[in-house]
């Protein structure tokens, strides 16, 4: 993919609060048509990164979104970018149709017709007061509003926090069905990464203000291998420099980065690690001395 077409490009992105630096020079690109998962612990810098990208905070280094500097050209950028914050709220005193009136007035690319369409099949009525809606319904309403904006980039920060599994599934199905196409890009942060693992086309892990992984999903599957090693192969497995190892339930689990899969298959059962297994592995890598876990 050509770097010319990147939708988002960050170079040496740094953020300091007083004397503490919390983003330590991130470099990444996001291409159009992708669904990117930005995964990290609380306080790792996820929301700060999103804020930089949305022009909500001033940073050192450079970041461009759709060719614009988000901090300097925030208003122009918001024509093409939609966002649900993890602390998002809708005006509780309004009715649903009044909310649509408001958004129609302030956003040139909002389609009321589309928003109404998204509410069909839900229990949300146009006359309902927002304060009387359940948490799941508010999330549905919020999604209906942002999806009705013809944006090229949609940023969702923990969009399904506090929702039950039925609503979460419906939320993501909606996105795939009605929002995604090859010109549109989705950036999601979430803790419930298992649920969206197969939706993602790209995976970014952020830890303590550093990007520790930034890769297309299919390359993740080629690069990383999880091995459940036979008892007589444990030493051989350790000799291949696993990035993670763990003994549980009498099983010896290893994760390898860039080791030949055929070679590993001779030592036991190999699988592609899930994103959450990989997350645990890469987030602990520096803190634990290798070999201690077993």
């Amino acid at each position: 993919m050509s770097t010319q077409t990147a939708l988002v490009r960050a170079q040496d992105l740094r953020k300091r609060f007083k004397k503490t630096e919390i983003l330590h020079g991130l470099n990444f690109e996001i291409q159009p048509g992708r669904i990117v998962g930005l995964i990290g612990h609380n306080g790792a810098g996820k929301t700060t990164t999103l804020n930089a990208l949305l022009g909500l905070t001033d940073c050192e280094g450079s970041i461009s979104v759709l060719g614009k500097d988000p901090y300097a050209e925030r208003a122009a950028l918001m024509n093409d970018v939609a966002f649900i914050s993890d602390v998002a709220s809708l005006p509780r005193f309004m009715r649903v149709r009044e909310l649509f009136d408001l958004v129609e007035e302030i956003h040139p690319k909002f389609s009321r017709e589309k928003a109404n369409g998204f509410l069909q099949g839900t229990d949300i009525r146009a006359n309902a007061k927002i304060k009387n809606l359940s948490k799941g319904m508010v999330a549905q309403l919020h999604l209906a509003v942002v999806m009705a904006i013809d944006a090229r980039l949609l940023v969702l920060d923990e969009p399904t926090l506090g929702l039950d599994i039925t609503y979460r599934k419906r939320f993501y199905k909606r996105l795939l069905e009605d929002y995604m196409n090859e010109d549109r890009t989705l950036l999601i942060t979430t803790h419930q990464v298992d649920e969206i693992e197969f939706m993602l086309s790209d995976l970014m892990f952020i830890r303590d203000g550093y990007l520790v992984l930034d890769s297309p999903m299919d390359e993740v599957g080629e690069r990383y291998t999880q091995l459940n090693a036979r008892n007589d192969s444990i030493d051989a497995a350790k000799a291949l420099n696993p990035v993670y190892q763990e003994a549980k339930f009498g099983q010896n689990i290893f994760i390898f980065d860039g080791v030949d899969k055929d070679q590993l298959a001779e030592l036991g059962d190999i699988t592609i690690p899930t994103v959450s297994d990989l997350f645990v592995a890469l987030m602990q890598r520096d803190n634990e001395t290798q070999g201690e876990a077993i």
């Binding site: 669904i35 199905k173 196409n181 298992d194 197969f198 993602l200 086309s201 190999i270 699988t271 592609i272």
Partner: protein
Amino acid sequence: MNQWNENQPIFVQIRSQIAALILNEVTAEGEALPSVRQIATDLSVNPLTVTKAYQSLVELGAVEKRRGLGMFVAQGARQNLLAHEREKFLKDEWPRIYAQIQTLDLDLEKLINKGAK
């Protein structure tokens, strides 16, 4: 919760599911297959993953992409797929199965009679 097995990339598993539609003649030659968007939504997977699965079937001559209309089962798709799957079975799976039959000292004729029941 997880409908996938961890040994194969997802696109390979989706490819097998589409291939099964053709092999079992659920969708006949010349008929339309589910759209990329529909499969992506139904399975909650990335549309690019579905596209990749379709692409590999297009390369095998099992599926044809008609511009603006979607994916269709190609003429001769079943034969092409069968030939491909047979070859794959004989090359990748049969040697392992044969070795296991010998290890277990199984009688081939009894096995075949058992399979036919």
